[in-house]
């Protein structure tokens, strides 16, 4: 399968066979991501890392992934450090960066920024999160984590918990999961439920998610509990945030009726959604999930930038 120079902006850019190809390649990357093997498949290439919003895991794992493949990284961390602060448009910034690099990784606060960047750049653009929009590389590492833990994605019973309105990871993830015939339960306070247009999109693909505000409704049948942080920074009104902050908290007591092989995932950072006592249980998979960002992003960079493994 040829991914060379392909943009990765949203779930619309991927079908099931392409997702499976990336997940298989990610598995091959694991020993290289751990540093147990070395392959400079992208030696001499340069990736531009443009993060116009704060990020720890996504940014570091992309940079780690690039370096593990022998790829150099140039980066911008804050809008205030760029000509955007002087009034330059994103389109012009991308045209300039396009001339300095072989691929562009972009995180931006505005939805659709990565699609615009892909239009004006003739180098491939990888969306590392655009506002409350898409986050396709997070989706791929989430699928990889589930598949590694469960052996398959087909038919899993998956509960998405927390901020399903503003959380971009769950929007992209839910749409990808429809390709694998999963049973989906959406657990959120009514004010933070999944937007209707995304639910309609899930239904049009044959997935009829169960909506509930009660975590107990979902936990005993779930194979995967995917917990998200209620993101204070996405709320236009702070009082609305206070009403729903701390609604769900996963601890050992709530997990006592869960399946033995339930896995708990979280895109991190967590605040208090998952008690630290869960970290040492067989259910906890979120730190493994964070590590998986490296092999999955290695696979993405390698496939898109034409690396040979």
């Amino acid at each position: 399968m040829d991914f060379t120079n392909k943009d990765l902006v949203s779930i619309r850019d991927l079908d099931r066979s392409q997702i499976e190809y990336i997940l298989d390649l990610s598995k091959e990357m694991v020993p290289y991501a751990r540093g147990e093997k070395v392959k400079r498949a992208l030696d001499g290439k340069i990736v531009a890392s443009l993060f116009f919003e704060p990020s720890t895991r996504t940014k570091l794992s992309f940079q780690s992934a690039a370096m593990r493949l022998g790829c150099d990284v140039i980066d911008v961390s804050e809008m205030s450090m760029t000509s955007i602060a002087k009034g330059e448009t994103l389109a012009d910034t991308i045209r300039m960066v396009n001339a300095y690099s072989d691929a562009i990784v972009l995180r931006h606060p505005y939805e659709g920024a990565a699609r615009l960047a892909a239009e004006v750049s003739n180098k491939p653009v990888i969306n590392a999160g655009d506002g409350a929009g898409s986050h396709p590389t997070q989706m791929l590492l989430d699928l990889f984590t589930m598949k590694e833990a469960k052996g398959t994605l087909d038919g899993l019973n998956i509960a998405l918990v927390g901020d399903l309105k503003y959380g971009r990871t769950v929007h992209t993830l839910a749409q990808a999961l429809t390709m694998f015939g999963v049973k989906l339960t959406l657990v959120a306070p009514e004010s933070l439920q999944m937007p209707q247009d995304i639910v309609d999109s899930l239904k049009s693909k044959g997935c009829n998610p169960i909506r509930t505000s009660n975590l107990e409704d979902a936990i005993d049948e779930a194979d995967v509990l995917y917990v998200t942080r209620i993101q204070k920074e996405r709320f236009p009104d702070p009082t609305e945030y206070q009403k729903v902050a701390g609604t769900y908290r996963i601890d050992n007591a709530i997990l006592k009726d869960a399946k033995d092989d339930l896995i708990v995932m979280h895109p991190l950072p967590r605040v208090n959604e998952i008690a630290t006592e869960v970290d040492s249980t067989r259910h906890a998979r979120y730190f493994q999930q964070a590590f998986n960002g490296v092999p999955v992003r290695m696979a993405i960079l390698c496939a898109i930038m034409g690396g040979e493994m």
């Binding site: 939805e111 699609r115 409350a132 929009g133």
Partner: protein, 160 residues
């Protein structure tokens, strides 16, 4: 013997030459003119508008109707009307006779006619980009922003 004119034809007199846009969704006639870029300042002929006219067409109880004298609209121009009036029909009139008649139909994409209703979409942030939408459904029109992937809410409120 000539058939007696229908009641609605009496309300809006027939035109000798021009275009009749019929079966416009109720109270969307002005938006149709806005989409077409037609107004009293840029045409030198009569524009007749009927608003809230009763109709027997299936699926409609009320309709709007627009008659543009001495103007013939082409298929591409009128296809845009389907954004807000998917059941509209177009008749090109020459010397009081219907010379051509066709339905409106949206293309697969809509470019530069409406803006995205998502305030956080990059197309609303001063970038040099023309709003573009995929047409997901045609009747009524359902548009998805090419950039932010959101469904456009309230098409007539977001006409450019």
């Amino acid at each position: 013997m000539t058939q007696a004119p229908q009641v609605e034809d009496i309300k809006i007199p027939p035109i000798r030459n021009g275009t009749v846009i019929d079966h416009i969704t109720d109270r969307q006639a002005r938006s149709v003119l806005k989409i077409l870029g037609v107004n009293e300042n840029n045409v030198d002929s009569t524009i007749s508008i009927g608003i809230h006219v009763s109709t027997t067409k299936e699926g409609m109880k009320w309709k709007d109707i627009v008659k543009l004298e001495d103007m013939e609209l082409d298929h591409i121009a009128v296809s845009k009307i389907a954004l807000i009036a998917p059941l509209a029909t177009i008749s090109i009139i020459r010397d009081y006779y219907v010379a051509e008649k066709f339905d409106v139909k949206l293309a697969d994409t809509v470019v530069g006619l409406v803006k995205c209703s998502n305030p956080n979409c990059i197309t609303n942030k001063g970038e040099p980009v023309t709003p573009k939408f995929f047409v997901e459904e045609r009747c009524p029109a359902k548009l998805r922003c090419v950039y932010c992937d959101r469904i456009l809410m309230n098409i007539s409120d977001n006409l450019i």
